[in-house]
């Protein structure tokens, strides 16, 4: 299997994630689409790591997973806080950063 196949699949998944961010207006689904994009990046990192025969890319992918977990934790915290304060969960209404 050529590495190109993996890279094209990764580009496809990234494009799906981008369309999701542009299309959906629920912050929860937008976070899910960010996950899609990060995972597409991980797939590309692993593909390059395999094509070079070097494991550094895999360590990079592991760190990306940690960053994704941090992003999820903070993002979900904000969603829960907004829900508790009866702020509508719609990114068109969530325009101001002021509490």
């Amino acid at each position: 299997m050529d590495i190109t196949w993996y890279l094209v699949l990764s580009a496809m998944l990234f494009a799906v994630g981008v369309s999701g961010v542009l299309l959906r207006r629920s912050p929860l689904v937008i976070l899910l689409c960010l996950e899609l994009m990060l995972n597409a990046g991980n797939l590309a990192l692993l593909a390059f790591s395999r094509s070079l025969g070097n494991q550094d890319g895999q360590v990079f992918a592991l760190i990306v997973m940690v960053i994704a977990a941090c992003e999820v934790v903070v993002g979900l915290g904000i969603i829960v806080a907004a829900y508790r304060r009866r702020i509508p969960l719609n990114v068109d209404d969530l325009r101001s950063l002021r509490g």
Binding site: M1, D2, I3, T4, Y6, L7, V8, L9, A11, M12, L13, F14, A15, V16, V18, S19, G20, L22, L23, R24, R25, S26, L28, V29, L31, L32, C33, L36, L43, A47, R50, S51, L52, G53, Q55, D56, Q58, V59, A61, L62, M65, V66, I67, A68, A69, C70, V72, V73, V74, L76, G77, I78, I79, V80, Y83, R84, R85, L89, N90, D92
Partner: protein
């Protein structure tokens, strides 16, 4: 055999990804993302990333997705209004996504990297195994490892402060920031 496994994983990953953005109910989107992540773990195994595949299933499809499921169940289904602030958003957004994919595909197939037209070099036994990755993490990438652990700690504390119930006053009433 490898081709069959690749296309099975690719169809699962792509189908899961499209289901995430197409399903109306946020809870189903989370479940579709789990399908996507497990298919992707299969692809990681094909790329000899044994440890990454295991971490993907345990950390992502296990722990992170449980968090998503709980929040989706707590918040409930957010009904997205049918009117669009940008006219034609639902047609323009997939179009932009397809344009991005075409651009990336041209960049990948047109690149002069020779190594990507092969299956990669033959690697020694133990490539991507937990012991090899652990050794790299604790020797060459120790600073990145420690920084990641510090970042996780900060994120956990931040989430508790953001979403924690306020002690003073009625928790459900809108409060002024302190």
């Amino acid at each position: 055999m490898k081709e069959v496994a690749f296309f099975a994983g690719a169809i699962g990953a792509l189908g899961g990804a499209i289901a995430v953005i197409a399903l109306r109910n946020a809870f189903y989107s989370v479940l579709a993302l789990i399908v996507h992540l497990i298919s992707l773990a299969g692809l990681f195994l094909l790329l000899q990333g044994e440890f990454i595949a295991a971490a993907q299933i345990v950390v992502y499809a296990g722990a992170v997705m449980v968090l998503y499921v709980f929040v989706a169940a707590y918040v409930g289904n957010v009904d997205e209004p049918l009117w669009e602030p940008i006219p034609g958003q639902r047609f323009i957004a997939p179009l932009l996504g397809i344009a991005l994919f075409v651009e990336l595909a041209i960049a990948i197939t047109g690149s002069s990297l020779q190594a990507i037209d092969t299956g990669g070099p033959t690697v020694e036994l133990g490539f991507g195994s937990p012991s090899a990755i652990g050794k790299l993490l604790l020797e060459r990438f120790l600073i990145a490892f420690e920084a990641a652990s510090l970042l996780l700690l900060v994120a956990a504390v931040g989430a508790v402060i953001l979403a924690g119930r306020h002690r003073s006053g009625d928790a459900d009433a809108p409060q002024e920031p302190a």
